[in-house]
């Protein structure tokens, strides 16, 4: 019969190859524990003293208090018939250092199924425990889950992080069917099934999954290594979530795919903006051209009408034929002047005389005129809101604009119908709400018809000068463009809303006047008293024809005239002739404007009355208040009043 000791020796020799492992032999009937030198060393007990055996409670004594109860239960289990004892626990050495040990043992039973001995091996697994700890932290911190699969089995060994990534209840072993159940239809299995016979060639792959717990779509990448083992194989791999990268990739691809259409869209927006810009530039260019032509044409009309005026005076008055012919010629010149006024209005260069206008009053006052102009087939309805603030506008121009719109409305309804004219206050308009308008309070005048309306194409060109749908000879095409110019000049806007067969709404937006700030007395009472005295007048104009005419009119009024064909000549003459009483100059001249000339003259000799003749609307900035402005074309009486006023401004 072999003694326990020899058995320990045998065991020791067998296990020597195992390295740092201790062995134990637990003799159950005698309740004695036999250990080898290594076990003694690991447990921190004296080997020599333990040679004859130690009480079995020694087995538990060195175990860390937190692990002791657990190991006692496990030992109870093995003694009661569990198959294997395989536990990890901490042992505290006498010097206080703690190490992890793995005890693995088994129990032998006698014929009566009574336990006789419990033998096993003790291995220092501190290093492995630390490695496991690092692996666990690497997995949880890095979001990497591990798996191991041996072919032929229906289950795989997995890590907690693995389960978490797939949204499965944490387990150490999962059926491959469960693992593969989370992948979306049409995907390769994450782990090959047990009936798959061929060894996989790679573990590289990305899988689309439906996470089990929250049913979220995720992308998982699998990597790992394949080990051939006997006739089978073993797979060791990891999985990790790549959803974020996949989404970025998809977003990038989407961005690429839609690039073309987005460029197309952007281009369309840009083309539309360019088209709008071109359109406004076109109108601007036409405006300048029109203004320029109107200006020159005005000068010619001026020459014609003033010559006619003088001619009429000098010709015998008793020949009715001659008088009629000259009247005809003068009428023609007047109509030409009216036309240039409208062209200048479009070019925003007309001479406006803005005063505070009560819009409702103005409209009421002209209802009769409108109704008569339109005819009985067109009924005019009025709708003026309460508390409409006054606007700062030229009343005559405003009347013309409304009449013009009313006539347009009539023309769009050849068979008659209602025309509605309304006025209302629109407060707190924000910038951009209405084309061209800045933020502020406005008065909007509307002329509304139910006529033919306009299609988009016509509507887009309706405000272009010379654009007309009325047929050759029926309209100048200046009506709407003129109103547009007027509105813009007054700081307002003119908009058209129309649809074919639905009618048109023409809206004229004008800024509500600040009554307190506005000066109701725009014009100082003019001193219309004729001056009979003979003055020495310096007339300046770069256009010889005009200069000649102006001089002729002045001389006809009994004044002495010095003619200068340029501002420089004017300055020379002014210095030469200190007796000059008044300077009358054109505004637009090459080299120096009338305003600049006035300033130079002021330096040479202050307080000289001056008249500025101009076809342009606004007074140039820096213009002295004492300078009298005279709009071209002017007739002799207008010239005479201007002279009186200029002189009167220095006689206080």
């Amino acid at each position: 019969m072999t003694t326990p000791l020899t058995q320990v020796d045998d065991l020791r020799s067998e296990l020597a190859a195992a390295g740092a492992s201790g062995t134990w032999y637990w003799d159950i009937p005698t309740d004695t524990l036999h250990v080898d030198a290594k076990f003694a060393e690991l447990y921190g007990i004296d080997f020599e003293e333990s040679r004859s055996g130690v009480p079995t409670r020694t087995f538990f004594r060195a175990i860390h208090p937190d692990d002791r109860a657990r190991i006692r239960i496990a030992v109870a289990g093995i003694l009661a018939g569990a198959e294997v004892f395989s536990k990890e626990f901490r042992v505290v050495a006498p010097d206080g250092t703690t190490m992890w040990l793995h005890g693995r043992g088994q129990c032998d039973f006698d014929d009566q199924e009574q336990p006789v001995r419990f033998t096993g091996v003790l291995v220092d697994v501190t290093e492995r425990k630390r490695t496991e700890e690092r692996l666990r932290i690497a997995q949880s911190a890095g979001g990497v889950g591990t798996f191991e699969y041996i072919d032929g089995y229906a289950t795989a060994t997995v890590s907690e992080e693995f389960c978490k990534l797939l949204g499965l209840y944490p387990a150490l072993v999962l059926p491959t069917q469960t693992i593969n159940g989370v992948t979306c239809p049409g995907q390769e299995p994450l782990i090959p099934g047990p009936r798959r016979e061929d060894m996989p060639t790679t573990l590289e792959g990305t899988f689309e999954i439906l996470r089990s717990d929250d049913h979220e779509h995720r992308w998982i990448t699998r990597r790992g290594e394949i080990f051939r083992e006997g006739s089978g194989y073993r797979l060791v791999g990891v999985i990790y979530d790549v959803t974020h990268a996949k989404q970025q990739e998809a977003a990038l691809r989407d961005l690429n795919d839609t690039l073309e259409s987005r460029i197309e869209q952007e281009s369309a927006v840009r083309r539309a903006a360019e088209e709008a810009l071109r359109q406004s530039q076109k109108i601007e260019a036409i405006g300048q051209l029109t203004g320029g032509i109107a200006h020159d044409f005005n000068n010619l009309l001026m020459a014609i009408s003033s010559s006619l005026e003088l001619l009429k005076k000098r010709l015998p008055q008793d020949d009715p034929q001659i008088v009629r012919l000259i009247d005809n010629a003068q009428q023609g010149a007047h109509r030409g002047a009216a036309l240039t006024q409208r062209m200048l209005a479009f070019a925003r260069r007309q001479d406006l005389n803005p005063v505070l206008v009560d819009v409702a009053d103005l409209l009421r006052g002209m209802m009769d005129l409108i109704q008569r102009t339109l005819g009985p087939a067109w009924h005019v309805e009025c709708d003026f809101g309460d508390n409409i603030p006054p606007v700062l506008a030229d009343a005559n121009q405003l009347e013309m604009a409304i009449l013009n719109l009313a006539v347009n409305a009539r023309d769009s309804m050849p068979d008659g119908g209602p025309i509605r004219i309304s006025a209302e206050q629109q407060q707190e308009i924000a910038a951009g709400d209405v084309t061209d308008l800045d933020a502020g309070d406005y008065v909007v005048l509307r002329v509304i018809d139910r006529g033919e309306g306009m299609d988009e194409k016509v509507l887009s060109r309706a405000m272009e000068p010379f654009f007309t749908t009325k047929g050759v000879g029926k309209g100048t095409g200046l009506g709407l463009s003129m109103i547009h110019g007027l509105a813009r000049q007054l700081g307002g806007s003119f908009t058209l809303t129309s649809q074919p067969k639905q009618g048109t709404i023409a809206s004229l937006w004008l800024p509500a006047a600040n009554v307190a700030a506005a000066n109701p007395e725009i014009d100082a009472p003019r001193n219309a008293q004729n001056s009979l005295e003979c003055l020495t007048i310096l007339a300046v104009d770069d256009d010889p024809l005009i200069l000649l005419n102006t001089a002729a009119m002045l001389e006809d009024l009994g004044h002495r005239v010095l003619e200068a064909a340029s501002p420089h000549e004017a300055l020379i003459l002014f210095e030469q002739y200190p007796e000059i009483d008044l300077v009358m100059t054109d505004q637009a001249m090459p080299g120096m404007t009338g305003t600049q000339l006035a300033a130079r003259i002021e330096v040479i000799r202050p307080n000289v009355p001056m008249i500025l003749a101009t076809g342009y609307g606004e007074l140039p900035e820096g213009m002295r208040a004492t300078v009298v402005k005279l709009g071209k074309p002017f007739n002799q009486s207008a010239l005479e009043s201007a002279i009186s006023e200029a002189i009167s401004r220095f006689r206080h």
């Binding site: 109860a69 496990a74 059926p175 047990p194």
Partner: protein
């Protein structure tokens, strides 16, 4: 929610795991003898969960219908024990325990009986061991084979407001070369779980003694 008085402490869970481990070891060795092939049994993990949760745990893992061998037990603690496996495994298991010698028709013919017998062996090993370790006696009823979803097996009653609890033991048993796996579950009501917990406390006191 699981009432606090039946929640197992860490040590009680260890003790129960160890006890079940012994039972499973016995069951495995019995099964090994029947099948003559390697049988792998995982270390059991134990949870007390609601019946609904148990049903979800099973259906998360198994997409097909399930087969279970069910046995009632009475004694110091009472309840029903279940050996559960996917229905698709059922014939494989029968084939495994009958040694591949039967025709498909014969396997189908004896399926019910073979399953009941196999389940009886495994469940008996487990329960008898538990009773033995806890120094109690249990009597077991005749096994029955039931089929259905996780909800059917765990008798989830959607109408009921109070839910029964399940002592859910994951014991994956896998047989090499065959796609066979299964689970063991014990359905117990609150008083039964409280009794089990008390018995576990006794067991721990006995085994651990002064160290606890």
């Amino acid at each position: 929610m699981i009432p606090q008085h039946v929640v197992l402490s860490e040590l009680e869970r260890d003790a129960l795991t160890e006890i079940v481990n012994i039972g499973v070891s016995r069951a495995a060795s019995n099964l090994r003898k029947m099948i003559g092939d390697q049988v792998y049994l995982s270390v059991p993990s134990i949870d007390v969960v609601s019946q609904r949760r148990a049903a979800r745990l099973i259906s998360e893992r198994e997409v097909s219908e399930l087969v279970a061998v069910r046995q009632g037990f009475t004694g110091a603690f009472a309840g029903r024990a279940l050996l559960i496996f996917p229905e698709t495994n059922s014939l494989d298991l029968v084939r495994a325990v009958t040694g591949n010698e039967l025709t498909t028709q014969e396997v189908i013919d004896i399926e019910q009986e073979a399953l009941a017998e196999t389940g009886n062996v495994i469940l008996n090993s487990c329960l008898a061991t538990m009773a033995n370790m806890l120094k109690q006696s249990l009597s077991m009823s005749i096994p029955e084979v039931v089929r259905g979803s996780g909800s059917n097996l765990f008798e989830v009653d959607e109408q009921s407001e109070t839910e029964g609890l399940v002592l859910f033991l994951y014991i994956d048993f896998a047989v090499r070369s065959r796609d066979i796996r299964g689970y063991i579950a014990m359905i117990m009501d609150l008083p039964a779980l409280a009794s089990l917990k008390a018995l576990l406390e006794d067991f721990i006191a006995r085994v651990v003694g002064d160290d606890a």
